[in-house]
């Protein structure tokens, strides 16, 4: 069994990814809070984590819970001035959106979570499903649908015809 790494190394290795996940899920303003809550909670539970666990998946799972907490709290206090990405309704992505990060924040919650946790957090679909609920297949479909919307919006944004550069960006985004 591999030995448990010092927690300082966990923060050094995964701190950046977790912050990006937090930013993508709760937005830049609340991301710092979500990050701190995630690592404080992780520090508390770390000694009980099996040494061979997928640490990043574990952190992303905690980050998800903390992000949801923060969003719920924001919804309860309902400050009309604060923009809460998760509260955004699933609007149709349109050509006026130029910033893909913003586009991402406009995706329906399930699709956004699936895209962020799979492609940014590095979680396999089975783990994405464990975090957001539902089956791995549903998680895979949510991620695919989310990516398809982003791809379409991006093709529109780049001003290309869907058959032309849009297809290139599809290839690029989907590797």
């Amino acid at each position: 069994m591999p030995a448990k790494k010092p927690f300082s190394e966990v923060v050094a290795r995964h701190g950046s990814t977790v912050l990006r996940v937090c930013r993508a899920v709760v937005g830049a303003v609340d991301a710092d809070d979500a990050w701190s809550e995630t690592f404080l909670s992780a520090l508390r539970a770390y000694p009980a984590l099996p040494a061979d666990a997928n640490v990043e998946a574990w952190l992303v799972t905690i980050a998800h819970r903390k992000a949801v907490d923060i969003v719920r709290k924001a919804q309860r206090s309902a400050k009309p001035v604060a923009e809460v990405p998760v509260a955004a309704t699933a609007v149709d992505l349109d050509e006026t959106e130029v910033d893909l990060t913003r586009l991402l924040s406009r995706l329906p919650e399930r699709q956004r979570f699936a895209v962020v946790y799979h492609y940014l957090g590095g979680l396999p679909y089975a783990e994405v499903a464990a975090v957001v609920g539902g089956s791995p297949e549903a998680a895979r479909r949510a991620a695919a649908d989310g990516i398809a919307k982003l791809r379409k919006a991006r093709a529109l944004n780049s001003g290309a015809s869907p058959a032309g550069r849009g297809a290139d960006s599809c290839a690029e985004m989907c590797k």
């Binding site: 030995a3 448990k4 790494k5 010092p6 927690f7 300082s8 190394e9 923060v11 701190g15 950046s16 912050l19 990006r20 930013r23 993508a24 830049a28 710092d32 990050w35 701190s36 690592f39 404080l40 520090l43 508390r44 770390y46 000694p47 997928n54 990043e56 998946a57 893909l100 990060t101 586009l103 991402l104 895209v115 962020v116 799979h118 492609y119 940014l120 590095g122 979680l123 396999p124 679909y125 982003l150 960006s169 690029e172 985004m173 989907c174 590797k175």
Partner: protein, 207 residues
């Protein structure tokens, strides 16, 4: 890591915004340390200290200074060991070690002849621990033989075991195992290397 999903390709990077700057992460890290301290979650705090005998790693539990390590011991390896033997709740948290660092700096500049710090001796047990507990009785600038120490801890035949206790001292410099030398006057081994042992003894002799 075969179970891990693919990483975003080049086209994905902009979806998630730029990677956070080092300074942002550093400031989050500092806040995390403060909150961990407040909530009593930081079992081990560590920092490094530059000294005339190289970089030292200092680590403290809530009870006191638990480890001083020389660069030659491999600092990453020492942290791994601490995670295994004491607790994995470790963070780079210099504040808890401010006083230890201050006293060590005074020692290396010749302004201090003994340490007044809470020590956590949990990394040493049994006979070794009784040897370590005796060592501060050997005053600054003096030396004692392994034989003398063995006799002092009521086990005159355990000369080699005294050597082992010194070689595994978790708190070198602070617990002065460098002041224990061979009966024939040769310096003998030292966990930081014989050169450092000589250097510490020379420094103490010429204060």
């Amino acid at each position: 890591m075969t179970m891990t999903a693919e990483r975003p390709g080049p086209g994905f990077a902009e979806l998630f915004g730029p990677p956070p700057a080092e300074t942002e992460l550093a400031s989050l890290y500092t806040d995390l340390v403060d909150r961990a301290e407040e909530e009593g979650l930081l079992d081990l705090a560590y920092r490094t200290l530059e000294t005339p005998v190289g970089t030292l790693l200092l680590a403290a539990t809530l009870a006191g200074l638990v480890r001083v390590a020389y660069d030659s011991e491999g600092l990453d390896g020492v942290l791994d060991q601490l995670a295994h033997k004491v607790s994995s709740r470790i963070l780079l948290a210099p504040k808890r070690l401010d006083e230890a660092a201050r006293q060590l700096e005074q020692y290396f500049s010749g302004g201090r002849t003994s340490f007044d710090l809470p020590l956590d001796l949990r990394l040493s047990a049994g006979f070794r621990r009784s040897v370590l507990s005796f060592l501060p009785a050997i005053r600054y600038g003096q030396t004692a033989s392994y034989q003398f120490v063995a006799t002092a801890v009521d086990n005159p035949k355990a000369v080699r075991a005294v050597g082992t206790a010194c070689a595994t001292n978790p708190l070198p410099v602070v617990i002065p195992c460098h002041r224990v030398i061979r009966s024939d006057g040769q310096l003998g081994a030292y966990l930081g290397g014989p050169d450092i042992k000589r250097r510490l003894l020379d420094m103490e002799a010429h204060r």
